[in-house]
């Protein structure tokens, strides 16, 4: 689950991380009111209007604008709210902006030189430990830093039993060449960042840029937080922050029915048990001359009701010209899946596209009998290759 910038910053602040402050607004009026408050607080006229969507690269798409006065806030918030924001990380259609964050302009004049850093915390899968990844080259995408100046990316691995140690924070501060008052602020920033990451069971906390301001504050100008979905059961407060408008409605509906669904752009829908086999089935569809329309794992305990729901979800996609059901029965029994297919057929009335059903494993024979006795027009297969050949035949 992803959080918005404004939500991420709230969580960071709670743990003592200094952030570029701001107020979230849903309308132009709220944006202007928020800007007034920010002007009073900072004693400066400039504020930044930032689109709140779950995607990076917002500035490139015109979703982040500097406003010099309240008139400009009105104009810029008006333009950004409701727009379809297209960034390098969104689909071609972009994402609708429902909220803006009215933020202080942290790049004000002062005695010290402004510096931007990159700092993130994430899991290193190769060592099964969390690492702090950081760089002097902030403000740029990490992928770009990795490509252009890989020697300027540093990592610090955290022992899970000890947590982040002081010497590690010092190492990071020295490598980032932070000096004077900013040095102490950086240590505090890092401690707070790690504490946030652990407390909320994050999968990623990425601050880019981290700003060394002209008065030597160390603050998070932007904040990206992704939570570990498996840990949400122990964080009802975080779950309440979920913004369903940011997610594909079909994905949400599938999730509510315990189906693992990812929409793709192809023409052959598929329904499979098990994530690995589901991916492999997508690959087989492509090898057979089609293109997969989706990833869909019905899980290990698929029953008739869930199969019906899965059909309905696949059929919502008008591009689907055929459906391949590929079940290898382990925990899930093939006859139960077959019954689900029969029931779904009857319940939906008329499924307008051809269906290939391949059932193998526990009770596969009973399943085949069940489908054959039902009189439904489905192409049945037992071997995977037969199913692939049927796909080729149908997409041609």
């Amino acid at each position: 689950m992803n959080l918005h910038e404004y939500q991420s910053k709230e969580l960071l602040k709670k743990n003592g991380v200094d952030v570029a402050e701001g107020i979230v607004a849903n309308t132009v009026e709220e944006a202007v009111a928020a800007a007034k408050v920010m002007q009073e607080r900072t004693k400066r006229n400039e504020v930044i209007v930032k689109a709140q969507i779950h995607a990076g690269g917002r500035g490139k798409g015109g979703g982040i604008k500097l406003a010099h006065n309240l008139d400009e806030v009105k104009e810029k918030a008006g333009a950004i709210l409701g727009m379809q924001l297209i960034t390098p990380q969104t689909s071609a259609a972009g994402k609708k902006v429902n909220k803006v964050f009215i933020q202080e302009d942290a790049y004000y004049d002062g005695p010290s030189k402004i510096k931007e850093f990159y700092i993130s915390i994430l899991l290193n899968r190769n060592t099964s430990k969390n690492i702090i990844m950081y760089s002097t080259e902030g403000g740029m995408e990490i992928e770009l830093i990795a490509e252009k100046t890989p020697h300027l990316i540093f990592t610090e691995e955290v022992d899970p039993f000890l947590g982040l140690q002081d010497y590690q924070c010092r190492t990071i501060a020295f490598n980032l060449k932070v000096e004077g008052v900013a040095y102490g602020n950086m240590l505090k920033f890092l401690k707070g960042l790690y504490k946030t990451y652990i407390d909320i069971d994050a999968a990623l906390v990425e601050i880019n840029p981290v700003l060394n301001t002209t008065d030597d504050r160390i603050l998070a100008v932007d904040a990206k937080v992704r939570l570990d979905d498996n840990a949400l059961f122990r964080h009802p407060d975080l779950l309440a922050m979920r913004d369903l408008t940011e997610e594909d409605p079909t994905d949400v509906e599938a999730g509510n029915n315990k189906l693992n669904y990812v929409k793709l752009d192809g023409n052959v829908g598929c329904m499979v048990n098990g994530a690995g086999l589901a991916m492999a089935t997508m690959d087989i569809i492509q090898l057979a001359g089609g293109e997969p329309a989706n990833f869909l794992d019905v899980g290990g305990t698929a029953n008739a009701e869930r199969i019906e729901k899965a059909f309905q979800i696949i059929l919502k996609d008008p591009n689907v010209k055929a459906i391949l059901v590929n079940i290898f029965g382990g925990i899930v029994r093939c006859d139960r899946v077959a019954q689900g297919i029969v029931d779904a057929y009857k319940s939906i009335g008329n499924i307008p596209v051809p269906i290939i059903v391949r059932l193998q494993g526990t009770n596969a024979v009973e399943a085949k009998q069940l489908i054959e006795a039902s009189g439904l027009k489905v192409h049945s297969a037992i071997q995977l290759q037969e199913a692939a050949d049927l796909v080729t035949m149908l997409v041609k």
Binding site: N126, S128, I198, D228
Partner: protein, 288 residues
């Protein structure tokens, strides 16, 4: 011969009396696995499936000399169950539970680092040595005692490979589902090393997918030290970037996570990579 599991393994079921535990323990017993009892806290002293139930793993180990355990405990409590098994001296811990928080697994992995035990999973189908013992949730009847070792990050895809190996007459020495999470106990390389050292195993099937560096790590080792033919398949050539494909660990972050990148490395390391999982059995047969 086989790896990790055989007919003498003394198996304990954690989460024995729950519905999952009951269903699969029954199947394991029917297969001939030496299930010596189970653990469900506060149900100790009772009997289930004609076997003793204990409150604690340590007590069960003391009284039954169990050396293997399988965990069917809800994800919120599963990490704790793994550590309990390790603390009690269980040598092979198989965790079936799906959905354990990553930070819990980081702690588990650290805890196990200096313990004399091996974890398989979590989020996996388990391990089977055909004809001897099954400690998992795989459909037993597709397996056949034979000469191929199977290691896979996916459950149903393992069944697919096993089924083909049975139909081509090759059979399996042992099949290990290592699990689809980003943090797992036994890695692909760990399993490959075991199979390379097992005299009964004549060939190895390794099934990977998008995400992580486990397949590449195993492949580079095979190139240097491999002594047996290896057939590989990597699922997810058509998977989009940045989306979790069912398994928590199956996500393309960087270029090295893609199926194409892994296939290139495997091929470079002399592993026979098949395009379709439908041809795993045939390919292995052609190499022996």
């Amino acid at each position: 011969m086989s790896v990790l599991l055989n007919k003498d393994s003394r198996v304990l079921v954690q989460g024995f009396t729950g519905s999952e535990g009951t269903f699969h323990a029954t199947q394991m017993i029917e297969y001939g696995t030496n299930v010596i009892g189970g653990v469900t806290p506060r149900k100790g002293g009772s009997r289930h499936l004609d076997r003793p139930v204990f409150d604690m793993v340590a007590e069960a180990v003391e009284k039954t000399k169990a050396d293997t355990s399988i965990i069917f405990v809800p994800p919120a409590f599963a990490a704790d169950s793994i550590m309990e098994a390790a603390a009690a001296g269980i040598k092979l811990i198989v965790c079936i539970s799906e959905g354990i928080p990553v930070n819990d697994m980081i702690l588990v992995k650290r805890y196990l680092s200096d313990k004399d035990c091996r974890l398989i999973g979590p989020n996996c189908p388990g391990i089977i040595t055909p004809g001897e013992a099954k400690v998992g949730i795989m459909p037993a009847f597709i397996h056949q005692k034979g000469k191929i070792g199977v290691v896979s990050r996916s459950g149903t895809l393992t069944y697919e490979a096993v089924d083909q190996l049975t139909k081509t007459g090759l059979g399996q020495t042992t099949a290990i589902g290592i699990g689809g999470d980003p943090i797992i106990g036994t890695t692909m390389l760990d399993a490959i090393k075991l199979f390379m050292a097992d005299p009964a195993t004549e060939g190895i099937v390794m099934i990977g997918e998008i995400g992580g560096g486990m397949e590449a790590e195993a492949a580079y080792w095979i190139k240097e030290h491999g002594t047996k033919p290896v057939v590989g398949f990597i699922a997810g050539r058509t998977a989009p970037i940045g989306r979790t494909m069912g398994h928590a660990g199956a996500i393309i972050g960087g270029k090295a996570d893609t199926a194409d990148a892994k296939i290139e490395i495997l091929t470079h390391c002399n592993i026979a990579v098949v395009d379709s999982p439908a041809t795993i059995g045939e390919k292995m047969k052609s190499l022996l």
